[in-house]
Amino acid sequence: MKKKLGFEARIGISIISLYLVWSMGWFIYGYFLKGTLSNPYRPIDDLSLELLSPFKSGFILGTDVFGRSLIETLSAGLLYSFGIGVLVSLSAAILGTIIGYLSALGSKWVRVPFDLLTNLIFVFPSILIAILFMSFIGPSILALVFVLTITGWPSYAKIVRGEVKRIYSQSFVEASLASGISKTGLFLKVIIPNILPIVLVQVCLGMSGVIISEATLGFLGIGGSEYSFGSNLSLAKSVLLEAPHMTVIYGLVLGGLIMGLNLLGDGFRDYLDPKNNLGKKI
């Protein structure tokens, strides 16, 4: 019965573990070794070292527009991207799960408005609302997390709604109901464990979307942090002729992160999904 994880999922896991180790390493370095929790270490500006190519004067990946070591700004950006990705995906997943559950099983007065709301935000061009919101509120991490959560939860709600309906018609739910389980008990002890895997798959796939959205906002100059991959790619674009290494390195690191998350999510989905055998000839 035990299935093995596919080739892609294993590549995804390796890539993401590598990135996790990298960002954790930076976290320990920046927050405990070089700085403190309240005042973390920041990459140092030195305009005399501006735009060095890789492998020159001790900088393995070269330096950026402000003469900061590219390895350091990359690491800070990676930690930031991961942080935003995890924070937004988890809050969107929790909000979406609750709303999806209510719209699957609630009374008509709960169901209809929630359904409408989900569909509405689902068809709404979410990146536009994020751009509008961020340009009016001004760049801040809190606003960024808020707006990405607000535009992100409907995809979770849709999945959870379908899954809850499917699970609810099965006999073990009937059995728990017959044994007198409370409504919250049913949600926490029966429904949640059964929808958790599929929600986690969506967290993986959604996280790459969140990271791209965040970088897009950063690229447009309304992201939450100066270390965002987007704002650094925007800087890199302005010096494309003088320092192509910035664009290439940032693009590759961000690309690896997105690819890893996509592979992981796709791999887990193939692992869980009964429609898995799509990939095999019948």
């Binding site: 892609e8 569909n119 509405l120 068809v123 709404f124 061009p125 979410s126 990146i127 536009l128 609302i129 751009i131 509008l132 919101f133 340009s135 009016f136 509120i137 791209i212 970088a215 897009t216 690229f219 447009l220 100059g221 309304i222 987007g230 790619l233 925007s234 890199a236 674009k237 494309l240 002729l241 192509p244 664009t247 290439v248 940032y250 693009g251 961000l254 690309g255 690896g256 997105i258 690819m259 996509n262 592979l263 429609k275 799509l278 990939g279 095999k280 000839k281 019948i282």
Partner: protein
Amino acid sequence: MSGLVKKSLYFLLTLFISLSAIFILIRFSPGDPVERILGPNAKQEDILKYREQLKLDRPLSEQYKNYFIDIFKGDMGTSLFSKKKVTELLIEHFPPTLIISFFAVSISLILGVILGVLAGYFQSTYIDHLARALSITSLAFPIFSLGPVLVLLFSIKFRIFPVSEWGSLSHAILPILTLIIPLTAILSKMTRNKYLEEARYPWVDFLRAKGMDNMGIQLRLVKICLPTILNIMGIQLSVVLAGTMVTETIFDIPGMGTLLFESIQNRDYPVVQGVIIYSTLVYMIIYFLVDLINEKIDPRISA
């Protein structure tokens, strides 16, 4: 017919709620918009004058009514920076965006469907694996890292296309290519999955048993897959929209994206608002049309 009426009503409701959401977002974002527009050193009288000019001193219900009237009259105020009407600016900047996104969407639709069907037809062969590897790789590079790399390769290294300017056909090729790559990747992946799902149904065997030739069956399969593909395209449209905007800022194309980018940088709020509102409108209308076309192709959807 009642399906059409229901859909239109739903569309209008969605549109109404979306535009209201934008209104609420703008009016209730913290801080005074006028003070933000005029900066922290503005004189009190200027603020009052400007507030009157923007009609922000009226009651909220009246502002709300006027907001909708203004949208449908196409009057979104004047730019704070260039003093031009927002509508004029929008009309001026619309054609490049339209050209780029139209070509990108149509070319990637054709390419995506062909690649997806090929990958599905030659399932689990090297063609399938190659298509999958290509799609995974190209999805990993968002437009703002793909675009500059394409410029590096094609304009600076090989000097095939001019760098960033706008005017002739050769200027449009790189931006369109930047958009085509991720779109084709998504579409081919979805087409492949849908194709394989449909190819397992018994009607395929039935047609084959009746003696229909292979090409005819493949065409039928593609036709059956089309609504799903168009639907995905509809959902992806907001990605196309944002993607076109980012692409324009990369290639310095005087389109809606550059307009939005510049007005964000200049804190030109009326223009930001105008671009977002009209993009939302266009997006919603296209989404609605995709829905209608789907119903024409596959009557099962409306049932």
